[in-house]
């Protein structure tokens, strides 16, 4: 009867399925047609919501196919027919797989092939998106269909549940200390996402099985809401210790012990260190920089009332030339000399956020060993202690123990590309194009890729004739996922980097400037994690007030 019910649903729902496939086709054509720079802009702006419509279409179609043979209620004809309910359930799943998601899978592959992306990776990326769409959208939508009688009821239930979850989330976040959501290390964020997806998948299958077997709608609704709550809690609040434990398990053989040593260097407090610029990762350059600066200022202001901030200069040795050392997580323990523990907390080092109690600001514990003289790197992690703890102990002599979860990023390869070239395939970055931006002050690099971009990228403008080179900029967005976890919007991601070569205020001068920009080359070095390990640093006696952030250091790294 599975195939029989499937055919009936196809007969009834082919126009809707066709509309969804058309939307996905248009979305794919949009990605291919707009190219690397998303132009023309007007078309880009007008079609921005196409991908949302596809997701909406998946949800609506999945709900509707279940409503062809609704479960709640006692008037449905199909319930008095000699057909096994499990067959009807499987027919709905088959419909979603073959009629809703399979065309999207095929269109995804076609889209990637049109962008000249490799076939095998394209298949893998399309399969990954297929899985995400199934577990995050289609199966939950089937559940919503199974616990409601009509689309209007599903809509009302969905809206009420969304409002309830939003309020619950807001209340929960409001009760937590600032930054709790960002406690987890950035590189292991995929574990939260994958775990939440797994919870959603299990919830959906369990709820569907229960509802199709017992038709107890109230209980099934409870199961679904509990599952979604658990998935949300997993996504936002899976303890970083668990995430790191899972991550360590997946790392397996690449865990090493390295040669790296960390040492607290009290005399480096006033060291003038050179700031390494980070690469803007996405968004529109002008607005992006302003927004980022404003957000940071607001965050800093807010944190002042909540946290006591301490900067600790650390000397780092043993990082091989060209490598990047990155702290994924720092666990701090502050105790009195007599052993009384004042504070214990874990924080993550991420590019633009803070952990609970302890955290790393942008560039504050990420050191880059350039050239052969790499023995003297300085990193300045920032500890953020709850202000009540800080005020209580800041003038006391305390013992500070810091455990660092560290990763060494090793360069995999360096590739050169012109500043204004058409499409070129770059290893690890896939289909890339470059151009001078409309302001004439930056070179834009855009890459369309169907896999995880390298965790770190370093880029610099070079003039091949004079040998001049602009300061290297690097971006680390660690992602330790063992396989690409595609977001549902599009199978192809547009990654962008911008390299400045002209200061519009005229205050700074770049060695490679507008006069030679046409012949300049971009040197792009990609990095991948090579070693994960931990280090313990113990400062037996320290007075925290001496290292307060108000006596600010110039953050960054030196070489």
């Amino acid at each position: 009867m599975i195939w029989h019910y499937f055919k009936k649903d196809v007969r009834l729902m082919w126009p809707m399925a066709l509309a969804l496939t058309t939307l996905q086709t248009l979305s794919a054509l949009r990605t291919v047609g707009l190219g690397h720079f998303n132009e023309p802009r007007l078309l880009y702006a007008f079609t921005t919501y196409l991908q949302f419509l596809v997701l909406l279409g998946i949800v609506v179609t999945s709900i509707t196919v279940v409503h062809q043979d609704p479960l709640p209620g006692d008037r449905q004809d199909w319930l008095i027919r000699p057909v096994k309910r499990v067959d009807v359930w499987l027919a709905k799943v088959l419909f979603v797989l073959l009629v809703v998601l399979a065309p999207i899978f095929l269109i995804d592959i076609a889209e990637q092939l049109m962008l000249h992306l490799p076939l095998f990776v394209s298949l893998s990326a399309a399969a990954s998106r297929f899985f995400v769409l199934l577990s995050v959208f289609a199966l939950p939508a089937l559940v919503l269909g199974a616990i409601t009688r009509s689309f209007a009821e599903a809509l009302v239930f969905g809206i009420v549940a969304t409002i309830a979850f939003t309020l619950l989330t807001a209340m929960t976040i409001g009760m937590l200390p600032v930054g709790t959501m960002l406690e987890r290390p950035q590189g292991v964020a995929w574990i939260n996402v994958a775990s939440a997806m797994l919870v959603m998948l299990i919830t959906a299958v369990a709820t569907l099985a229960f509802q199709y077997r017992h038709r107890r709608t109230a209980l099934a609704r409870g199961m679904a809401l509990a599952g979604v709550s658990l998935a949300m809690a997993t996504l936002a609040g899976l303890p970083s210790a668990y995430a790191m434990a899972i991550q360590r398990w997946t790392w397996g053989g690449v865990q090493g012990d390295g040669e790296v040593t960390l040492q607290f260097v009290a005399d480096r407090r006033l060291t003038s260190v050179k700031r390494i610029e980070s690469l803007p990762l996405s968004g529109e350059s002008g607005a992006r920089d302003a927004a980022r600066a404003a957000a940071e200022a607001v965050m800093k202001q807010m944190e002042k009332g909540v946290y006591g901030q301490i900067h600790l200069p650390l000397q780092v040795t043993g990082v091989a030339a060209g490598n990047i050392l990155f702290a994924d997580q720092i666990t701090a323990r502050i105790s009195a000399i007599n052993g009384e523990v004042y504070f214990e907390g874990t924080g993550a080092c991420i590019r633009s956020g803070n952990g609970v109690g302890i955290g790393c600001r942008m560039n504050q514990f990420e050191v880059h060993a350039v050239g052969p003289q790499n023995a003297d790197l300085t990193g300045v992690p920032e500890l953020m202690l709850p202000v009540t703890v800080y005020e209580r102990i800041k003038d006391r002599s305390v013992r500070l123990e810091l455990e660092f979860a560290l990763t060494i990023f090793r360069p995999t390869q360096t590739q050169m590309i012109g500043t204004s070239v058409g499409v070129r395939q770059l290893s690890g970055l896939d289909s890339c194009a470059t151009r001078i931006d409309s302001d004439g002050d930056e070179v834009e690099i855009r890459c369309l890729t169907n896999r995880n971009v390298p965790s770190c990228v370093a880029a610099a403008l070079e003039d091949p004739q004079s040998g001049n080179r602009n300061p290297e900029m690097h971006a680390c967005t660690p992602d330790y996922a063992p396989w690409p976890l595609h977001l549902p919007m599009d199978v192809v991601a547009n990654t962008q980097l911008s390299l400045p070569f002209r200061d519009t205020t005229g205050l700074a001068h770049y060695p490679v400037d507008q006069s030679v920009i046409a012949r300049a080359q971009i040197s792009l070095t990609t990095y991948e994690p090579a070693e994960h390990f931990s280090r313990m640093l113990v400062i037996p006696n320290i007075r925290l007030a001496d290292w307060a952030a108000s006596r600010d250091l110039n953050p960054g790294a030196s070489n």
Partner: protein, 298 residues
């Protein structure tokens, strides 16, 4: 028994729709489940069809607990209801094609003859059919596999008399060896088909018996007196709706036996001039029983 319910209860929140209903449907019979709107007829049928679960008690259908009615039993049950949700966007022919493979005993010849008799427009979608046509469509999908049990829930509701007669005619033609359970609030609708009748009121079974016995024991009695009629002090419980009008006393005798009636009259009522005993039709029987039930319920 094809159907048997034992002390069946069903509660919707605080409201008890069924209150200890015990009912049996003998094989080969056509039982009319009679009751006013809201009496619990549809609830009973939904429990039997495993569309809802009873709160207490149990029911068996084709020898199987109603909670466990599965595809094997459903393949032998035909179900027609005024509240049957079928796919609205399928045509009659498409829906027949959809249900046909579900029944191993589906008889194509029988289907054709039923469709001819019912004059159903095969190419019309269900949403475009009138209520009467929808009921005919449901019947056309319930008969061709020659079900052992045919359950009809208020099949005549909203049907005009012509369609109702046609419907009954077709039903009678195909009835054969089927056991039929038919719920209605109009006993007269099923006079020609019902062999048994069960009267349900406020979730309780008031009585159940064969039509023959029912019509045999129910009589309308008019007693004429020489003077003004007066109701006796101790009216027998079997006399329903007694009323005195002028010199005539009327009532419905629900346990009619000529000798017993004569005895009761002789002992209770002096100076009787004439006794007139008449058989009454099923509609009148239903009305009398319904009013009496309502009176007892207060």
């Amino acid at each position: 028994m094809i159907i048997q319910t034992n002390n069946l209860w069903k509660a919707y929140g605080r409201h008890d729709a069924l209150k200890g209903l015990s009912l049996s449907v003998p094989e080969g019979s056509a039982l009319a489940l009679i009751g006013a709107n809201g009496a619990g007829k549809t609830t009973t049928i939904k429990v039997l069809m495993n569309l809802i679960e009873p709160s207490r008690g149990n029911a068996t259908v084709l020898g199987v607990d109603s909670r466990k009615v599965s595809t094997r039993e459903l393949a032998q049950i035909g179900y027609v209801s005024e509240n049957q949700d079928m796919p609205e966007r399928l045509t009659v022919a498409q829906f027949l094609s959809h249900v046909r493979p579900m029944y191993p005993t589906w008889d194509l010849e029988l289907e054709r003859s039923i469709l001819t008799a019912l004059r159903l427009p095969l190419d019309r979608k269900r949403r475009d059919l009138s209520h009467g046509m929808r009921m005919k469509m449901a019947l056309a999908c319930a008969l061709p596999y020659r079900p052992k049990l045919l359950v009809l829930d208020e099949p005549f509701s909203g049907l005009d008399p012509l369609i109702r007669d046609e419907f009954m005619e077709n039903l009678l033609e195909q009835a054969g060896a089927m056991t039929i359970l038919i719920s209605t609030h109009e006993l007269a609708d099923v006079e020609n088909v019902a062999t048994h009748v069960a009267f349900i009121e406020q979730g309780q079974l008031l009585f159940q018996e064969s039509m023959n016995e029912l019509t045999k024991r129910m009589r309308e009695v008019h007693i004429r007196f020489a003077q003004t009629a007066v109701l006796p002090k101790d009216i027998p419980y079997s006399w329903l709706q007694p009323k005195a009008l002028g010199n005539v006393l009327s009532f419905v005798e629900t346990r009619f036996s000529e000798t017993e009636l004569s005895g009761k009259i002789a002992s209770l009522l002096p100076a009787v001039r004439e006794v007139d005993v008449q058989a009454i039709n099923l509609r009148a029987i239903f009305n009398v029983l319904a009013r009496d039930a309502q009176r007892k319920a207060g």
